[in-house]
Amino acid sequence: MGCCYSSENDTTEQDPEASKPLIPHPNPDSKPLNGTEWRSASVPSARKDEQALLTSILFKTALNIIDVSAADSQGMEQHEYMDKARQYSTKLALLSNSLSQKKPLPSLTSQPHQVLASDLVPYSDVQQVSKIAAYAYSAISQIKVDAKEELVVQFAIP
C-alpha cells in the first residue's frame, strides 16, 4: 500500500511524509544489543566505529523491513486515502507520458527491401526455438514455494 504515515505534527508537504519510515528507529542510542558479542579492539575509537556500523545496519534493515505484527498501526481517514490515491495516479500519468515520448525507433538497416526479401527463417530453426521454449515453459511451471518454516517469528531476546 506504500508509505502512509501520519504524524502528530500536521505537515502540508506530501513528499517527506511519503518517505518517512513506517517503523521508528529501533536503536537510536547506539547501544550494542544483548546477545551480540563484538570482539572490539582495546582502543575505544574502534568500538565506536563498530557501534556506528551496527547502528547503520540496523537502521537500513529497519527501513527495508515491514513489521507485520507491528503493535501500533495508525490508520488513515477515508478522504486521506482518496487524496493519496488521486495524487499517486496523477504522478503516474505524468511519468508514463514522459516515458512514451522518449526515443524514436532505432534504424535497423539502410536496405529495408533487401532485408525483407532475403530468405525466411528455416523451418529447422523454428522447430528448435519452439522446443527450447517448451522446455523453458515446463521448467517455469515447476517453480513452486517449498514452505519449510513459519514466515513470521518472534525474536527471542533472553
Binding site: 525507433l105 538497416t109 529495408p112 525483407l116 526479401a117 528455416p122
Partner: protein, 123 residues
C-alpha cells in the same frame, strides 16, 4: 477568354505535377516491396500512421498497430553491453504466412510473405 483559359490550364498543370511528386515519393518506398517474391501484401508505417499499404494488408491499421507495438518492444532488447538492438529483421511466423518487419529511416516496413516451409519428410 483565351487568357482565362490559359490561367486555368496552368493551375491544373501545377496540381498534376504536385500529385506526381507525392506519388513518386511513396512509390520509391514501395517499389522494392512490390517486387519481393511471394509477397502477399505490405505496410509502410511511420510514428504518425500508415504511409502505404497494399495487397492483403491494404488499409489494415489494426495489424499496423499491433506490429508497431511488437517492434517497439523488440527494439528495446540489447545483448550485454551493446548499444543497438541485436537484430536486423523481425519475423512473425504463422502457419501459412510470415510477417517480416524491419525499421529504416524512422519508418517500419512490413511484408506479408508466403510460408511454404513444412516438416521435412523423413524417408
Amino acid at each position: 477568354m483565351k487568357s482565362r483559359e490559359k490561367k486555368r490550364g496552368n493551375a491544373a498543370d501545377g496540381l498534376h505535377h504536385r500529385a506526381k511528386q507525392v506519388k513518386m515519393t511513396t512509390s520509391a518506398l514501395t517499389q522494392g516491396l512490390e517486387r519481393i517474391p511471394d509477397q502477399l501484401g505490405y505496410l509502410v508505417i511511420s510514428e504518425d500512421g500508415v504511409l502505404a499499404s497494399a495487397g492483403e494488408l491494404e488499409n489494415d491499421e489494426h495489424t499496423a498497430g499491433v506490429i508497431m507495438q511488437m517492434m517497439r518492444t523488440a527494439c528495446r532488447f540489447r545483448l550485454q553491453g551493446a548499444a543497438e538492438p541485436p537484430f536486423k529483421r523481425m519475423s512473425v511466423m504463422l502457419e501459412d504466412y510470415v510477417y517480416t518487419v524491419t525499421v529504416s529511416g524512422q519508418k517500419v516496413f512490413v511484408v506479408k510473405r508466403q510460408n511454404n516451409q513444412r516438416e521435412p519428410v523423413v524417408v
